[in-house]
Amino acid sequence: MRVWRSVLAVAALGVALAGCGAEAPSSGGAAPEASGPWSFTSGSGEVVTAERVPTRIIAHAGEAAALMSFGIRPVGIYADEAVTTDPNLKDLDLSGIEILGEEWGKIDVEKAASLRPDLIVGDWWPAEKAYSGLEEGVDEKSKKLAELAPVVGVSQGKSIVELAEGYEDLAESLGAKVDDPRIAANKQRFEESVARFKEAVAAKPGLTVLAMSPADDMVYVANPEYAPELLDLQSWGLQVINPDSPDPGFPYWENLSWENADKYQPDLILWDGRSFTPTANAEWGAKQPTWFQISAAGAGAVAAWPAYWLHTYGHFATELDKLSEAVTAANADIGT
């Protein structure tokens, strides 16, 4: 059982996510030519410059995956969990890349220094005013990473598409040929997935979904306002329910006691993908007396939701296809 993972995820991401939802990313690439002087407008608004284009890059998990999708290969990666399970990294060939951390808030800075990086890449979290891996709450020692090289990143905002575009700009500034046909193919696949998703949603008028993460002492309901991928789904027509009283100190979620688990009655539950398994619904139904009081859970209408990790067109396309299937299979008359 991966029961507690979501609790941790909630807490850890809370710190990490304490910023998303402010300004839309405003980063833009510059200097398309390699080798010459380089500059990039980071998510923080700061213009970071260097005498030559950085080549020895250390990147956070999803950001690394985004750069690699454009052919920019970092020399080191720090992740928040094992790179074999991290959804951004597990399918990538990481040979030759140093792994500098596999737990949130813990980075081996000594090893990082030995890589002589000239650029650190991590998402910018506007409300926290910090980059991934350097937020409040991480190991003080980890924060020394920022002293090794300039840090840049795209701002976590209102849309995964904007995030992906921001990393495309960054990759381009680092010398990636973004007109590579494989990149175009990925984008094409993404566009098609979006079209299919819109179609699937349009075919189910009245379908409502709720993004949830059940935990042993509480049920968490995601607030789309702070989950860019859920905002994207909403913008493509899916009715993702907005919880009416998110935790004021921690607005990513509304906390429901198990007594109130049935507060919302969606037609389909989008289950936090970090804790979802094919048997999770049955397990939680057996364990929590009120879980099946949510009609959708009782009817087995659950699907994984790629919670808070997407960075690339490719990953989003794959996840969208699964969601389209779930929407097509859903029954719009289960909830109320």
Binding site: V3, W4, K106, D216, D217, M218, L256, N260, D262, Q288
Partner: protein
């Protein structure tokens, strides 16, 4: 002399009825705990669900019968266990600040929970409860064994020192594992905040037999604790087998605190404060302190829990958090009244 003994006699005669009143208060609080919560359910619906005694599949009957009733019963048992364990420990160690925590119980239980995750891959409250129980028992046995070394046996000072050492030792094991294993951290994170939520009939039925038996046994310790309170030499002079009594008392505390901690995680202040409140109400005689603590413990625990459930709606505040917030000022109040010296 006459006036003193008359006053004592009169006071003693009021203690029995006082206990009955306290029992009634507990019944009232338990009723509150079943009728109030983070979900508002009409009194009529609650009573109807209780009257039928079996779920009819509606959310109100599920919440009442499957969530609130086991939660309340667990709160009663755990509150009683913590109150009595605290009273026995304070008596046997003659340390007014003793509670199960200083004997390494929480640290031992936490270490075993994370060991279970890393070594055996065990997950979930239904299983980890047994590892927490084992860890608590091991901690107390270890502390007692270490403190018993040497000629004078397990003196209060040696117990406190051994407890502190065990807490540090188990704590570093836990930290070491948690630093390198994220699953263990996840498991610990939920368990580390004392809570009555999310534990249903299986946990209740699992720990109840241990708690009930240990509570009954503990009530029989009143006279022996009165003897120990006079000091070891006097107690020995009165014919008390000090070492044996102490060892037996520790077994009882181990079971009470171990099972309570296993079921709900570390819950602070109940074991520490309740015996002092009991002494304030009924005087220093342990034959009364123990039953008073047994009823006061659940009153305090359930009241804090109900408060956290009502105040936290639609979520909940864990009872461990509520007690931490309310317990500190209460404890300072007790210290300032100078009641501590009367142990």
């Amino acid at each position: 002399m006459k006036t003193t003994s008359t006053r004592t006699a009169r006071r003693a005669s009021a203690l029995g009825p006082g206990l009955v009143v306290l029992g009634a208060v507990l019944a009232l609080v338990a009723f509150l705990s079943i009728t109030q919560g983070s979900r508002s359910i009409g009194l009529g619906e609650v009573l109807a669900a209780l009257g039928s005694m079996h779920g009819d599949g509606t959310i109100t009957s599920t919440v009442t019968l499957d969530l609130r009733v086991p939660r309340t019963l667990l709160g009663v048992l755990v509150g009683a266990a913590l109150g009595v364990a605290g009273a026995v420990l304070q008596g046997v160690t003659r340390n007014p600040l003793a509670d199960a925590g200083i004997m390494g119980v929480n640290a031992g239980a936490a270490a075993f929970v994370v060991l279970a995750v890393t070594v055996l891959g065990v997950r979930g409250v239904g299983v980890s409860v047994w590892f927490a129980f084992a860890g608590a028992i091991v901690a107390i046995v270890l502390v007692y064994a270490v403190a018993s070394m040497g000629r004078e046996g397990a003196t209060p000072v040696k117990l406190a020192l051994a407890g502190a050492a065990a807490t540090a030792g188990f704590g570093s094991v836990t930290t070491g594992i948690v630093m390198t294993n994220i699953d263990a951290l996840n498991e610990l994170r939920f368990w580390q905040v004392g809570s009555l939520a999310g534990r249903y009939a299986p946990v209740l039925l699992g720990v109840a037999p241990f708690l009930v038996v240990a509570l009954v046994v503990a009530l029989g310790f009143g006279r022996a604790l009165n003897g120990l309170a006079l000091g070891e030499d006097t107690a020995r002079g009165l014919g008390l087998r000090v070492a044996r009594t102490r060892a037996a008392a520790f077994v009882v505390v181990a079971v009470l605190a171990g099972a309570a901690t296993a079921a709900c995680g570390p819950i602070v202040f109940v074991g520490l404060v309740v015996p002092h409140v009991a002494r304030f109400l009924c005087g220093p005689d342990y034959r009364w302190v123990l039953p008073y603590s047994m009823l006061l413990g659940p009153v305090v625990l359930l009241l804090a829990d109900v408060l956290g459930r009502v105040a936290g709606a639609p979520g909940e505040l864990q009872v461990g958090v509520v007690l931490g917030v309310l317990g500190a000022p209460a404890f300072i109040g007790i210290v300032r009244r100078g009641r501590l010296s009367e142990v």
